[in-house]
């Protein structure tokens, strides 16, 4: 049993200079009701022991920085304390840089406290009780990134233009659907049938019969790859099913890992943004290992990354599947497995911004318990290869599911990486955000924090990476009161294969994002620029550490952009307005995408071809 009654403690720096740790402890012990006696640095061992005897202390806390010959000095102190008969009633601990509990024990001390020691650990030693970390202090709550925004347009003209364009979209889409939308409707029925069966309202036979009929209908709107998977059991290349024993091992791994895991915080102050990491190793097991590692190193959220071939295929496979290349296959089982492995505080985003399965992806994400998704019709069509008409029809359905399941989503603008100027990408983003609001959803603006290709060409970022990225936030804030989540990942095209450089640039972009007061960021690993193999877990730790350090370094300090940022912001706003006026003049958002108004071939943007001709007019 411990003794929290008032203790008498002698604090002595057995060191010529260093006594900061002891000063911190003196304050902490006194705050907890104990009496302390602090000696100045550089007292001899004999003097310290005499003081301990004179003051009748119960504990001596020694501090010392290790160096040549110091181990002998410390061992000598313990011997002297023994010879003076102090050890019967007095416990002695040593603290300082390079001190470890094992070393302290070897030297004869009762305890040793190294760097990073929580003062409560020393308090527990003084009070003679076991130190039990207060895990409640480390607990995290999920944060609603979209909360507290009105989505009010501060730029009236842009707001009016967006509403006109959204009217065009609704008119154009009114009599259209697609295989992707139909499959999502069938999947909804499958999920309902499953719920009815689980509630015991139908027999297993009835459920299986209904499911088989729905599956047949689903396959009629799917690609051959999916049909062959279900009818002949043919699995796509570089993909394999996970075995039952592997699944059992995974569950044990997650349970064991969770039981000994503590959750770190990346944030230093409340204003630091929520931090997301992306996973998508190809294997749900490796994803889960990365997620557990990310959670323990402070990631607040994780982003599901699906393979590019999955986005080009009509329909989803099923079962627990692993994949040898980038991107983890979306199946209901894989998503459930990942969801079950998440810590209760971890935000989970499932991307649905491109490809032929976007409505079903959002539906599954919502039904399985994701917190966020990712949708952008313009980027999906102009930068990610999906046919604009198809992307628009599927995007509307995806947004409706996002609204139904209360999934806020970021409106990603990575077409900027192809060379599309930020103002064009932002015009598309704002159209989708307005569309989302009209459909009752919660969009989150996602300007890209990067070394922007348009600026590479014009030399606009030769001096620094701050001004243009800051200008994006400034411009968007002048247009609308909406949440912002720069990505994705921040620092794109500034990272190299050198992990120190890569981590550093991620940390600096995170600091800039925080200084600008954004709500969230997505960060890369330090392997971002390495393309020779899978991203490794250790490289995710690198950037989480870098961001933590950047937040610690800057605290409430703001990064001051130069006057150029304001000028860039004005140019971006003017550019957005011009693009929106061109769309209004065109009278059709989808046609505007085909015609290059939101990104032209000379910008490096081409209307996507995946799913072309697969819009169904009713």
């Amino acid at each position: 049993m411990g003794n929290s009654a008032k203790q008498r403690v002698l604090l002595a720096p057995l060191d010529p200079v260093h006594d900061i740790g002891l000063k911190i402890m003196k304050r902490h012990l006194e705050a907890n009701g104990h009496e302390t006696f602090m000696l100045p640095p550089d007292y001899k061992a004999e003097e310290i022991i005499q003081k301990a005897i004179d003051e009748k202390v119960g504990t001596i806390l020694i501090s010392r920085t290790l160096g040549y010959g110091v181990a002998e000095l410390l061992a000598g102190f313990v011997d002297l304390a023994d010879a003076a008969g102090l050890r019967k009633n007095v416990r002695i601990a040593i603290g300082g840089m390079a001190i470890r509990p094992e070393l302290a024990a070897e030297l004869g001390f009762d305890a040793g406290f190294g760097p990073g020691t929580n003062p409560d650990e020393v308090l527990a030693f003084v009070e003679g009780r076991e130190y039990v970390p207060d895990l409640s202090k480390e607990s995290k709550q999920k944060k609603d990134i979209s909360a507290g925004y009105s989505y009010r347009y501060k730029h009236e003209r842009i707001g009016q233009l967006l509403d006109k364009i959204v009217d065009f979209i609704f008119d154009w889409a009114a009599d259209k659907t697609s295989p992707g939308v139909i499959r999502a409707e069938i999947r909804e029925k499958m999920l309902r049938a499953e719920a009815v069966f689980q509630a015991g309202k139908v027999s297993e036979h009835e459920y299986k019969k209904a499911l088989a009929e729905l599956q047949q209908a689903y396959l009629e709107h799917s690609d051959e790859t999916v049909r062959k998977f279900f009818s002949e059991g043919i699995i796509p290349a570089k993909t394999r099913p996970l075995s039952g024993s592997e699944l059992a091992s995974l569950e044990e791994y997650v349970r064991e890992t969770e039981s000994r895991m503590s959750i770190k915080r990346v944030q230093h102050i409340g204003e630091n943004p929520t931090v997301f990491i992306q996973y998508g190793t190809g294997c749900p097991f490796m994803d889960i290992a990365h997620i557990k590692m990310g959670e323990s190193w402070g990631a607040d959220g994780v982003v599901h990354f699906d393979p590019s071939w999955g986005a080009r295929t009509e329909g989803f496979l099923s079962g627990y599947l692993t994949h040898e290349e980038d991107g983890s296959v979306i199946t209901p089982e894989n998503l459930r497995q990942i969801k079950d492995s998440l810590h209760s505080s971890t935000l989970w985003q499932v991307r649905a911004h491109r490809g032929l399965n976007t409505p079903e992806t959002v539906l599954l994400a919502g039904a399985i318990g994701a917190d966020l998704t990712k949708i952008n019709i313009a980027y999906g069509a102009m930068g990610a290869g999906t046919d604009p008409a198809r992307m628009c029809i599927d995007g509307i359905a995806a947004i409706k599911y996002a609204a139904k399941y209360n999934l806020p989503f970021d409106v990603v603008t990575n077409e900027e990486l192809a060379g599309v100027p930020a103002f064009k990408a932002f015009a598309g983003m704002l159209v989708v955000a307005r569309l989302a609001r009209r459909l009752g959803a919660k969009p989150i603006l996602q300007p890209l924090f990067c070394y922007s290709p348009e600026m590479m060409i014009t030399g606009g970022m030769e001096d620094n990476y701050v001004d243009f990225n800051a200008a994006k936030i400034m411009a968007l804030r002048k247009i609308i009161d909406a949440p912002m989540w720069p990505g994705a990942p921040i620092g794109f095209l500034t990272q190299t294969e050198d992990r120190v450089q890569s981590s550093m640039t991620t940390g600096l972009h995170a600091a800039l994002a925080s200084s600008l007061g954004v709500d969230a960021i997505s960060i890369a690993s330090s392997d971002e620029a390495y393309s020779g193999g899978p991203i490794v877990a250790a490289s995710r730790v690198d950037t989480l550490q870098a961001v933590t350090e950047a937040f610690r370094f800057f605290g409430h300090t703001k990064i001051q952009p130069t006057a150029k940022a304001e000028r860039h912001a004005g140019e971006i706003i003017a550019g957005i307005q011009k693009v929106l006026e061109q769309i209004v003049e065109k009278g059709c958002f989808v046609q505007a995408m085909y015609d290059g108004i939101l990104g032209a071939p000379e910008d490096g943007a081409y209307p996507g071809r995946v799913g072309r001709g697969r819009v169904i007019t009713l």
Binding site: M286, E325, R499, A538
Partner: protein, 80 residues
């Protein structure tokens, strides 16, 4: 069951060092030979920068690639 300590490596081992050499090509050759001598087979050079004194290098040996059978998961047994 994980029978070797190596099986507990989640995915890969990175070797970071500075190799004394007279060219980038020589630096590459040396680090790959080092990886081989260390028994790492599935190797790649993640980062290598040559300056006059030699190369700053980070080489990687994959123990488990995504989709393979993970030693750290099988039976969840720990070594040591």
């Amino acid at each position: 069951m994980a029978e070797t300590a190596m099986a507990q490596v989640i995915d890969a081992i990175d070797i970071e060092t500075f190799v004394v050499c007279s060219s980038e090509a020589e630096g590459k050759k040396i680090i790959l030979q080092i990886m081989q001598e260390m028994g790492l087979k599935d190797t790649d050079i993640v980062f290598l920068q040559y300056t006059g004194p030699g190369v700053r290098v980070r080489a990687r040996g994959y123990i488990h690639r995504p989709g393979s059978h993970y030693g750290w998961l099988q039976g969840n047994k720990r070594v040591g």
